[in-house]
């Protein structure tokens, strides 16, 4: 039964329903895989007792004929989600020892549906990063390698542990969060599917905040069908999040017909960047051809403000972060610095935050503080919010012109080596988000999925961007592309 962890959510659900397997067997298979995969650095807090208790309860529920689609499915949970009584640190030293007294709405919904928690997953500190190298736990590692090399590659970030765990079959699916690309970029780097829903679809309550107007949680899975199943279980209205939308969540899985005849797919010319590897151009062209063959109409479009999305993001996200992270003051939870004789409360704040936050988080908090400070608020923050309005308008214009979905590369390269960017300018690392960040600024749904391998054998991904609230139509298009691409490769096991 050692192969059970390789199942998709859909297949496991069907086998559980047919009583071919039990959730306890399935969960144990994942726990065994996790025990042998410490080299991946994916699981940072393991919760086998909770997992087996939940699995037993799920088996009882399935036997009683009371199963939901996620009942008995073992998942990994990104460390950004507060899970009651289980360490939830956002991969930061400042939340060392923090055990929430409450459950995030999303994990609560998943567990109410009978899902099983295997443990907490590695990530960039406070979700700030694109390589999982800013984590207090150390790096998460990509299960994929270049050819026969043993260079350790990044699984991407910030949801790097989630991506690594799903790609290595340590779990059937994982929760991720996406503020500028943190679900889609790691999904693309590890050959899995990552869905960022429309802003407001998933409750942010109990998810450690980074940039509240951009943060959105979503599923990271092995297939588009699994993203439909798990995504539906994560979404829904929550009175505890004032930006959560009160709209019914459709049966996404039922919409995966494979029929996309007549859909209009936009190809934005601004996403053709200087210096982009030819292989990325190639898979983009191939993906376009696949959608055309499936019956979609292809149209060239323009999103003229694309170039300004990254600089706008790197004003708005740090500004919101500097405000959100003000709560880490050493008073109510987490780390407090040891004080010297005579130190007052100001020294307590300053020493606590200097010790607790890593360098990238400190940098972003200070950038945010600067752009919000007197005299610069209009020049940077307000200007960035105006540019954001223009970026959103670009998308509204093409959707009004009849575009159903937009196809772009997911990332400007395949996975790079851990440490390779250590001496690079921070801005160079930020360029990883160049294709994904527009989607967060405009609040749209986006999905990344693998469609091919580069010449070194690493997965490359494409992104589809949909109309707001139309995750179902987006998943339908993604499903057709997945079928056409037929991507089935897995990382060869070395860990």
């Amino acid at each position: 039964m050692s192969e059970l962890s390789k199942l998709t959510i859909a297949d496991a659900r069907d086998k559980l329903a047919a009583r071919e397997i039990t959730s306890v067997e399935l969960t144990q298979s994942c726990l065994d895989q996790i025990e042998g995969a410490d080299a991946l650095g994916a699981f940072v807090h393991k919760t086998p007792e909770i997992a087996l208790d939940q699995a037993k309860a799920a088996d009882v529920r399935i036997a009683a004929g009371d199963a939901a689609p996620m009942t008995g499915i073992p998942l990994g949970i990104k460390d950004l989600f507060c899970t009651k009584g289980v360490p939830s640190q956002a991969a930061s030293g400042i939340l060392e020892g923090f055990k929430p007294e409450y459950e995030s709405t999303i994990t609560g919904q998943l567990f109410d549906a009978g899902a099983v928690m295997l443990g907490k997953l590695n990530m960039d500190e406070f979700a700030m990063g694109s390589s999982n190298e800013t984590s207090v736990y150390g790096n998460a590692v990509n299960p994929w390698r270049r050819g026969n090399e043993d260079t350790a590659l990044t699984p991407g970030g910030s949801s790097g542990g989630s991506a690594s765990a799903v790609a290595a079959d340590l779990c059937l699916g994982a929760t991720g969060t996406d503020t500028g690309g943190s679900i889609r970029q790691p999904a693309a780097f590890t050959g899995i599917v990552g869905l960022k829903p429309t802003y407001g679809r998933c409750s942010r309550w109990g998810v450690v905040a980074f940039a509240s107007s951009l943060d959105q949680a979503g599923p990271m899975t092995k297939t588009v069908r699994d993203a439909a199943i798990m995504g539906a279980a994560m979404m829904g209205h929550d009175p505890k999040d004032s930006t959560s939308v009160d709209m019914p969540v459709p049966d996404f899985e039922a919409m995966l017909t494979g029929d996309i005849k007549g859909k209009v797919i936009g190809i934005p010319k601004e996403y053709r960047m200087d210096g982009m590897p030819e292989e990325i151009e190639t898979i983009w062209a191939e993906g376009t051809a696949m959608l055309k063959d499936a019956g979609a109409e292809i149209r060239d479009i323009s999103l003229p403000h694309t170039k300004y999305a990254l600089p706008a993001y790197y004003v708005i996200a740090p500004a919101e972060a500097s405000s959100n992270l003000a709560r880490y003051d050493g008073v109510r939870f987490g780390h407090r610095a040891t004080l010297a004789a005579g130190d007052g409360i100001t020294e307590m704040y300053e020493k606590t935050r200097a010790e607790g936050f890593g360098p990238e988080v400190q940098r972003r908090v200070m950038v945010g503080t600067y752009v919000l400070s007197a005299g610069f608020y209009d020049a940077y923050y307000n200007r960035a919010r105006k540019v954001r309005a223009l970026i959103k308008r670009d998308f509204e214009t093409v959707f009004n012109d009849g575009i159903d979905a937009i196809l772009t590369p997911a990332t400007p390269s395949s996975a790079f080596g851990l440490g390779e960017m250590a001496d690079a300018d921070p801005v160079k690392m930020y360029l990883n988000d160049v294709f994904t960040v527009t989607v967060n600024l405009a609040g749209l749904p986006g999905i990344a999925m693998p469609t091919g391998l580069d010449k070194t054998g690493l997965p490359m991904g494409l992104q589809l961007i949909g109309r707001p609230w139309e995750e179902g139509e987006l998943l339908k298009t993604a499903y057709a592309l997945e079928n056409a691409a037929g991507f089935v490769d897995k990382a060869a096991r070395w860990w």
């Binding site: 020892g97 923090f98 007294e101 429309t198 802003y199 407001g200 009175p239 004032s242 930006t243 939308v245 009160d246 403000h305 300004y308 990254l310 600089p311 790197y314 004003v315 500097s322 003051d329 008073v331 109510r332 939870f333 987490g334 780390h335 407090r336 130190d343 007052g344 409360i345 020294e347 307590m348 704040y349 300053e350 020493k351 935050r353 200097a354 936050f357 400190q362 940098r363 200070m366 503080t369 600067y370 752009v371 400070s373 610069f376 020049a379 940077y380 200007r383 960035a384 919010r385 105006k386 540019v387 954001r388 309005a389 223009l390 959103k392 300018d425 921070p426 801005v427 405009a442 609040g443």
Partner: protein, 95 residues
């Protein structure tokens, strides 16, 4: 606009992050790199554009103005680094 050491010191103070004097020059340089990246935004014509305030325009929900949560002192204090007699404890603030 370039960030000098004095500005870096002020930003660190506002952010309540202790930065050793020796590291201020490096911090200023790092902030300068990011801020000059942001300067690209000056190329955009934003005349007459309202700053975006809400990702999805929607009316906020209302509810009855009644107490619907509370009495959770133990849970609220459970993660406190220091607490005394049911309160969060901090270094002396008032002499």
């Amino acid at each position: 606009m370039s960030i000098d050491i004095e500005t870096a010191r002020r930003v660190a103070k506002l952010a309540r992050i202790a930065v050793p004097e020796d590291n201020l020059a490096e911090l200023a340089e790092g902030l300068n790199g990011i801020v000059s990246f942001m300067e690209q935004l000056n190329e955009v014509d934003v005349d007459g554009i309202e700053p975006m305030t809400s990702v999805t325009p929607m009316a906020l929900k209302r509810r009855e103005d009644i107490v619907n949560d509370g009495d959770q002192q133990v849970a609220v204090l459970a993660n406190a680094p220091d607490q005394r007699e049911g309160f969060f404890a901090v270094p002396k603030v008032v002499e």
